[in-house]
Symmetry: C2
Subunit: 202 residues, 2 copies
DNA sequence: GGCCACAACTTGACGGCGTCAAGATCTCCG
DNA sequence: CGGAGATCTTGACGCCGTCAAGTTGTGGCC
């Protein structure tokens, strides 16, 4: 049997993804501090030292979770800017809303993605998972890049604003627990991006 | 002797501030993960359980450090916007530069200030330390608040942008280790705030 | 001035954590 | 069928936060 009855296998078989899944569950249930190698192992039904054979310590597990989390993050961003008005400004606002919504729905995953080993690791390490999300941002930002302007500037303006706003939102700056998006200052704050003008319609 | 030769006191006397200072040192030397109650106690020359009599666990120590760190943070912001051009836009840009500079100089303290127990705690708890820094922001933002507009919106726009930008900067998004401010995209990104206009000069 | 109550700190222990070394077990392939 | 190698277990170590109980110095009260 290579994958027999999925039961009583002494060599679990799909341990790595199972550990990542367990880690994500822990993250969603108890936040970033509830994530530990030993608890992931326990949830996956293996011994406490088993994860060491699949990840380079806790940092490695967090990075693997971050890569997985980026998929979900990307789907939030893409889904958001595919819904709503399809003009450049409409897509930009929807992207930002999707960013904040992801933070509200999955604060633990956001913390891992942008945590010590998350973002820093992805910036340097492969980062192809991050690229998906960043390409969505790039596509949405493109109409606002003036001819001859560095697109990195516009992308960073958007990213900085929505990232900072999301973190302040999650920290309870506008109410604790954070209010629904439409009851917070989201629209008014993001309106700062109205200063950006589509290059084709100045 | 009430405060005799400062030596061999079995009842340390100034343990609480000494622990906070030790914690800040640890933070500056090894980042947020290097901070522990036991190491603070060792640095202060007391037993491992002594901190428990002065702080409510590790979270309490972090909050105390955050309050202390906010003083330094405030001085960075105030000092920055007091130097440089004194027109509204000049002060705004200087404030942002001071924010980023603080992050570059003291990333560990920034992490504690805006960490789990830091910002969240200060938002709800007293928060008078935070208020100093926020009042600086408020004063700098004031000229850009249009009549009838909610000043919270303008303040949040500024705070979100510089906060998000600083975190991306520290994460190595523009080079690792982060480049000096003038070699990064700081000026161009912060130029988004040029969309704000002093109410007296529309 | 002497004693006592109280605050400050120590000692010791507990469980949880990440990590390493060594051993057991299963699978696959020759 | 048998061995090689990957996979997982067991056990141990040191560090961590936290609690309970004991010790020591201090200031106030009689």
């Amino acid at each position: 049997m290579t994958k027999g009855p999925l039961k009583s296998r002494h060599h679990h078989g799909d341990l790595k993804p199972a550990l990542i899944k367990a880690g994500i569950d822990l993250l969603e249930e108890g936040g970033i501090n509830a994530l530990s190698l030993r608890k992931c192992a326990a949830r996956a039904g293996v011994s406490h030292a088993a994860p060491a054979h699949h990840f380079d310590g806790l940092a490695g597990l967090k990075q693997a979770i971050a890569e997985e989390g980026f998929h979900l993050f990307s789907s939030y961003l893409q889904g958001a800017c595919d819904s709503g008005p399809q003009d450049p400004k409409g897509r930009l606002r929807s992207l930002c809303r999707g960013y904040l919504q992801f933070g509200l729905d999955h604060p633990g995953i956001l913390a891992v993605i942008f945590g010590d080993q998350g973002l820093a690791g992805l910036v340097h390490g492969g980062g192809k998972e991050k690229a998906d999300a960043y390409l969505t941002l790039r596509a949405v930002a493109a109409p606002f890049v003036a001819p001859g302007q560095d697109r990195l500037v516009v992308e960073t303006q958007i990213w900085s604003l929505i990232h900072g706003f999301t973190l302040l939102y999650l920290a309870g700056e506008f109410g604790s627990p954070p209010p629904p998006i439409d009851e917070g200052p989201f629209a008014q704050v993001i309106a700062l991006l109205d200063a950006l003008h589509p290059a084709s319609a100045p």
